[in-house]
């Protein structure tokens, strides 16, 4: 599932880079960097889990799974933080920018269920911004992007609940994959020949 999500994140990053090259709009560069980070985190996590699976959960290599998760987690924190920054830049909300800058040390050094909550809050903020965008332009592509970030927020809620009950683990992965599939649908939609 991580490899599929990685491929979609890379496609979104490529589209954002193409847009940045054409328009030199800085928010598209932030979007590109954000999805590059997301893709890199997913790839490293996927590869680490694949290695652990291939060596049949050998005790000496189990740390790889934790390593992959950590890298993926930090990459997501940075990626979603960057996206929130892009939205704040666009709305020119200086107060919120200062709050974001104050939150950066916590984003980099915290690593526990509390940080998973920070990730959910970041995604909830992005989902809210994309919902506002959809309410204004009512386009199907905007709805797909809102659905994607809402699904990713739900996925991380399930990842948080997974620490309490293992039954949430598959739901978290399914919600994450669904979110990326919605992004793929949006990409295919905007690239339809005119």
């Amino acid at each position: 599932m991580e490899f599929i999500a990685f491929a979609i994140a890379t496609a979104v990053a490529y589209q954002a880079l193409k847009g940045y090259r054409l328009s030199r709009e800085r928010t598209l560069l932030y979007l590109n960097l954000s999805f590059v980070l997301l893709g890199a985190g997913l790839l490293i996590d996927g590869l680490a889990n694949l290695v652990v699976l291939l060596i049949r959960f050998h005790r000496a290599f189990l740390f790889l799974s934790a390593f992959g998760y950590t890298i993926n987690f930090l990459a997501q924190l940075l990626a979603y933080g960057l996206l929130v920054f892009a939205y704040i830049q666009q709305t020119r909300n200086v107060g919120a920018q200062v709050a974001m800058a104050a939150a950066v040390p916590a984003l980099l050094f915290e690593h526990n269920p509390v940080t998973e909550l920070i990730l959910i809050f970041l995604l909830a903020y992005i989902a809210t911004q994309t919902a506002i965008n959809y309410s204004m332009n009512k386009s199907a592509s905007a709805l797909l992007v809102f659905g994607a970030f809402a699904s990713l927020a739900v996925a991380h809620l399930f990842f948080l609940l997974f620490t309490l009950a293992p039954v949430f683990f598959p739901f978290a992965h399914i919600a994450q994959l669904f979110g990326f599939m919605l992004l793929l649908a949006m990409l295919l939609r905007v690239n339809q020949p005119t």
């Binding site: 954002a16 090259r21 054409l22 328009s23 030199r24 979007l31 506002i132 905007a142 992007v145």
Partner: protein
């Protein structure tokens, strides 16, 4: 591709963006006029003064995205490169708009 002005100050970047937007507006007007637009139509459609219109039309011609035609009256049309550029721009615009970003 329309060239960029990288490595400039914030003021210069915003100047570039407005210039980029004017390029797009001019090209949109030409396309809207069935790819055969007179300067007056472009002037009103893109909301430009005469001097700026002349300057931007010259720049767009040099970039190879529009061409000048007509015998008595000047008529401007998009080149193949211009049509492709506008199509790519529309895709980028709808991609950015899906995320709520304006370009």
């Amino acid at each position: 591709m329309i060239p960029s002005e990288q490595g400039q100050t914030t003021k210069a970047v915003s100047k570039y963006r407005s210039q980029f937007r004017i390029y797009i507006d001019i090209m949109h007007v030409i396309q809207r006029e069935n790819n055969q637009a007179k300067p007056t139509r472009i002037l009103y459609g893109a909301n430009l003064s005469h001097d700026r219109l002349v300057k931007y039309l010259e720049e767009l011609k040099n970039l190879g995205v529009i061409q000048e035609g007509g015998t008595d009256d000047k008529v401007y049309s998009l080149t193949q490169k211009g049509i492709e550029f506008l199509n790519n721009f529309r895709k980028v615009e709808s991609f950015a708009s899906a995320f709520g970003f304006r370009i």
